[in-house]
């Protein structure tokens, strides 16, 4: 008997890259949102423009779990290249929807699933003469068929089509027609709706649906960034492009056409970060967007910015590494490369947004932090957050909010005779005053350099002033702890000695995993770390728990390494839970990995021995 599920299933579309499926699939996902039911769509795409397999997965979840779940309840198999793999991945009693224009031998099908064939190619060939139309409308036709099978309100789809093609109105009617061709065929030839279907609900509320990269770019606009220097690299490219789009909307003078921003597509990542540093040195708010390989290239400049204390904002949209790695897959594997970027003793501030809402928030606050702390700030997104649309809280902005430009000495202060030492710690917080170039005719100029210098920015190779400066930089990093977003605690339903630390895009799967474990009687306190350096609350959390799982999406337990190094934690206490195959971590994975660890712990008398 096929599974019966209302508002709780995973449907996966197997397509060919470049076939125009993306917008049709998105239309499908949004129509479910409009029915008031939460969805979490994810693109699984190749490093390719046309021809290779690509998948789009939509998790429908009335309960609101937005992490990847794992498993597929319904496969829309539109790609013969991946047929076997796709059909094989369907959960028992699941559904297969496929193009039956060409007969598929029974051996290629399964008898433990419900198979729904529809002659999509045949229908489209009959309907359209233009080859490109045949291909594009095929996607809309299957969305129409699915709307009937899954009981999605056609009116919602029609409204979405009208919104999408607003301004290109002549496209509305043919798209609507294609939709109904598919819908009518399904209604006439299939048993509609299936036992697995959508039922109108009201679980969306005020929430919005947007990609993390776009949200981060919008944050940069609100945070006052005026200079963006970048080099194209997946999965960060759409961040720079979104910044340009929003700037064109919000920052162009209506009368003169003049722009209140400058975007340069640099020749490489070295130049990108160089421009950011030059602009920030000169008092503008500047950022770059990149991914792991770019971070590697920027290392020397990042050390300069750390040591010469120049603000910079770097959006690192992480992908699978090392090297070119898996450029279109997700990971959280640049943590250490960013935290300790560059040669010599360095430490950098990292922010870990969990979703587009925080990508916007942190995208804006990063510029305040960079100016306040006069150092690079890394906003650590990943492909999952950055390139997928997520349902999240609506963006909010307080119009009374002012940019925090940090400690900048003005011409008036210099004129009044205030002592200016570029690296002179007058407030004891490790943060010193700077001046923008060109401030005062005779006071406040200084030479910025990556070489050692004294408190008044004079070159020196003497040990004492060098060490004095390095100690002050540590003091400044200590100050950073009280400025960065603090960790968030979600206590388990019952008091527990077990904890889990997680960050970034792992959050949704982690919460769901904790709920699954709670059903099995295992309670976890969760701490979501939102920034590095870690504030005191992280150490308190470690002290309060006997065993803490550190859940992250990389092979080497990078956040755990940071916790060990920076909080002096006991290695035996911190159990790594690691997911790093390039797919987003799932609740199922976390649940079983933690359960497995707990079994091991029960079986072994000494905790230390069983930990990796």
């Amino acid at each position: 008997m096929p599974i019966e599920r209302v508002n709780d299933f995973v449907i996966r579309f197997a397509n060919v890259n470049g076939s125009g499926s993306a917008s049709a699939n998105q239309l499908f996902a949004r129509s479910i949102l409009r029915m008031g039911v939460p969805v979490a769509p994810r693109n699984v795409f190749p490093s390719n423009i046309q021809g290779l397999p690509t998948w789009y997965e939509v998790r429908v979840c009335e309960a609101g779990h937005l992490g990847a779940r794992g498993g597929v309840d319904m496969m829309v198999a539109m790609n013969p290249q991946t047929w076997d793999e796709d059909v094989g991945s369907i959960e028992p009693d699941g559904y297969l929807f496929y193009d039956s224009s060409r007969p598929v031998p029974a051996s290629k099908l399964r008898d433990d699933i419900e198979v729904i064939g529809m002659p999509l190619t045949e229908i489209c060939n009959r309907q359209y003469s233009d080859p490109r139309q045949r291909q594009l409308f095929k996607n809309i036709v299957y969305v129409g068929a699915l709307s009937a099978l899954l009981d999605i309100d056609a009116a919602e789809l029609e409204r979405l089509i009208a919104e999408q093609f607003k301004g290109k109105d002549k496209l509305i009617a043919p798209n609507r027609q294609a939709l109904h061709i598919g819908r009518d065929y399904a209604l006439a030839n299939c048993r509609c709706p299936l036992r697995m279907r959508i039922k109108r609900s009201d679980r969306i509320g005020e929430r919005i649906f947007i990609e993390g990269n776009a949200a981060a770019a919008l944050g940069a606009v609100y945070g006052g960034a005026t200079v963006c220097a970048w080099y194209p690299i997946t999965p960060s490219t759409s961040l720079a492009e979104a910044f340009e789009r929003y700037c064109n909307r919000y920052r162009v003078d209506q009368n003169t056409g003049k722009r209140r921003f400058a975007i340069v597509q640099a020749e490489d990542e070295l130049a990108s970060i160089g421009m950011v540093i030059g602009a920030s040195w000169n008092g503008a708010r500047a950022f770059t967007a990149t991914s792991g390989p770019g971070i590697s290239l920027m290392q020397e400049f990042l050390g300069l910015a750390y040591f010469a204390e120049i603000p910079a904002v770097i959006f690192d949209v992480q992908r699978g590494g090392p090297s070119t790695g898996m450029p279109t897959r997700t990971q959280q594997s640049d943590i250490l490369a960013c935290a300790y970027a560059s040669h010599g003793d360095t430490k950098h501030v990292l922010l870990f947004p969990e979703d587009p809402y925080e990508a916007f928030e942190f995208g804006a606050v990063a510029f305040d932090l960079a100016d306040r702390l006069q150092t690079p700030i890394f906003v650590m997104l990943d492909l999952d957050v950055g390139m997928n649309q997520h349902l999240c809280k609506p963006f909010a902005w307080d119009d009374a909010r002012r940019f925090d430009r940090g400690k900048v000495m003005t011409a008036e202060e210099l004129e009044a005779g205030k002592d200016f030492g570029r690296y002179l710690d007058v407030d004891g917080d490790g943060i010193t005053y700077r001046t923008y170039p060109g401030t005062h005719p005779t006071r406040g100029s200084f030479f910025t350099r990556g070489t050692s210098r004294d408190r008044y920015a004079h070159y020196t190779e003497k040990g004492r002033p060098y060490a004095d400066n390095m100690q002050r930089l540590l003091r400044k990093f200590e100050t950073a702890k009280s400025h960065v977003p603090g960790p968030l605690l979600e206590a388990g339903a019952r008091p527990t000695r077990l904890g889990a630390i997680h960050f970034g895009s792992t959050a949704a799967a982690m919460r769901e995993a904790a709920a699954l474990l709670a059903e099995e009687g295992v309670y976890l306190d969760l701490l979501r770390v939102r920034a590095f350096p870690f504030s005191g609350e992280v150490a308190t959390f470690l002290d309060a728990h006997e065993q803490v799982f550190v859940v992250e999406q990389n092979r080497d337990a990078q956040l755990r390494t940071l916790l060990l190094a920076e909080c002096g934690a006991d290695p035996a206490q911190l159990v790594p839970i690691l997911h790093y195959d390039g797919t987003p971590v799932t609740a199922r994975f976390i649940r079983s990995a933690i359960a497995e660890q707990l079994q091991l712990v029960k079986a072994a008398p000494h905790r230390r021995k069983v930990v990796l």
């Binding site: 949102l33 969306i204 929430r207 919005i208 649906f209 606009v221 609100y222 006052g224 005026t226 200079v227 220097a229 919000y250 003078d253 003169t256 056409g257 003049k258 722009r259 209140r260 921003f261 400058a262 340069v264 640099a266 020749e267 070295l270 130049a271 990108s272 160089g274 421009m275 540093i277 030059g278 602009a279 920030s280 040195w281 000169n282 008092g283 503008a284 020397e300 400049f301 300069l304 609506p394 963006f395 902005w397 307080d398 119009d399 909010r401 940019f403 001046t435 923008y436 170039p437 060109g438 005062h440 005719p441 005779t442 100029s445 200084f446 030479f447 910025t448 350099r449 990556g450 070159y459």
Partner: protein
């Protein structure tokens, strides 16, 4: 180098410019370069040019990379902000700085290792973007700070101090700058301040990428017999195209040159360049001819110097990007932040 600080007092009748500054106000820290280093002559020419142009020192930003040449910004314009960045990356830092504040004057100081080797890419891209700057390469054909290795501008066949012969072909930065679209291209010689000074002045007044390749012999490692970047060699092979007089709008035009060989060029700010041609039929406004002349000179073993190419009404990066007149670093919340109402409209569109 000397380690004795220069006393601050000066002759009571010392010359002042229109701003009331003396040339001492354009000085920096004491140079730590070798005695007789060509780079110090270039620093002197920069200070003199800024003094004569009546530029407030604090409105100049001086940026450099790494190497002997890149140390020099410490030794001039002490009231200017300076930035000694990383090796070969001055052009990107300068580009960013320029984007942030279009109102300052940007002086990029680099060397042949910094610009022709590690920084060749950044040199090329800053030039092709038309960043408004004066980009000076203090070109000595050798790595000085690391004691005498050949650089990428070292001529094939040139001999090192230890007697090794360079077998690689040189990179000609002037040829590259021309090809990349620089709108002001010059070559000069640190031993010829009458040629260099006016070129720096004209480069500063020029809007767009002004590139000056200044051959500056290294007295410690590349001033010997057999080197093609020694004082003697450069003097013997210098083929100057023109002599340059630079006049601001207010200066009287002196007519002490034979009229037939004069070319006058008005810069975008109204100041005038007067070229006294040494090579007949050479037109500084013809890029293709400039390139041809350069290669012909090279083939003949000449070092072509002077103002090689000029496009007077060139635009710059800000013009290409259509950025607004006010410097970006001066814009505040009202200019930059779209506010809560716009955000609410956006939220609405994302549902």
């Amino acid at each position: 180098m000397t380690y004795l600080p220069k006393p601050k007092f000066h002759h009571p009748a010392i010359e002042t410019n229109e701003l009331g500054y003396t040339h001492r106000d354009y000085e920096g820290a004491i140079s730590t370069l070798c005695a007789g280093c060509g780079h110090d002559s270039i620093s002197a020419a920069i200070m003199h040019a800024c003094f004569e142009l009546n530029l407030p020192p604090h409105r100049i930003a001086k940026l450099s990379g790494i190497g002997c040449s890149s140390k020099t910004p410490t030794y001039f314009l002490g009231q200017s902000h300076g930035f000694n960045s990383v090796h070969g990356r001055m052009p990107s830092v300068l580009t960013g700085a320029n984007l942030a504040n279009r109102d300052l004057i940007y002086l990029g100081v680099s060397g042949d290792g910094d610009s022709a080797s590690i920084g060749l890419g950044q040199f090329a891209h800053a030039i092709r973007r038309g960043v408004n700057m004066v980009y000076i390469v203090e070109n000595n054909g050798v790595y000085g700070l690391t004691k005498g290795q050949f650089s990428a501008t070292s001529d094939k066949g040139s001999k090192s101090k230890r007697g090794a012969v360079n077998s690689d072909l040189p990179i000609d930065l002037v040829g590259m700058a021309l090809q990349l679209g620089a709108t002001f291209v010059a070559r000069s010689f640190s031993g010829d301040k009458t040629q260099l000074g006016p070129l720096i002045k004209a480069g500063i007044q020029h809007r767009g990428s002004a590139f000056i390749d200044c051959i500056s012999p290294c007295v410690a490692f590349n001033n010997h017999e057999g080197s093609t970047k020694s004082f003697d060699y450069v003097r013997a092979h210098n083929a100057a195209l023109n002599r340059l007089d630079f006049m601001t709008g207010r200066s009287p035009i002196l007519l002490d040159h034979p009229p037939g060989s004069l070319q006058e060029v008005t810069l975008h700010d109204g100041s005038t360049l007067r070229l006294r041609k040494l090579a007949e039929d050479y037109d500084v406004r013809d890029r293709a001819a400039a390139m041809a002349h350069l290669y012909e000179g090279q083939a003949a073993g000449e070092i072509v110097t002077g103002l090689i190419y000029l496009e007077e009404d060139a635009g710059d990066l800000h013009e290409h990007l259509a950025t607004e007149e006010r410097p970006l670093n001066g814009l505040g919340e009202a200019d930059l932040c779209p506010g809560s109402a716009a955000l609410e409209r956006l939220n609405q569109a994302l549902r």
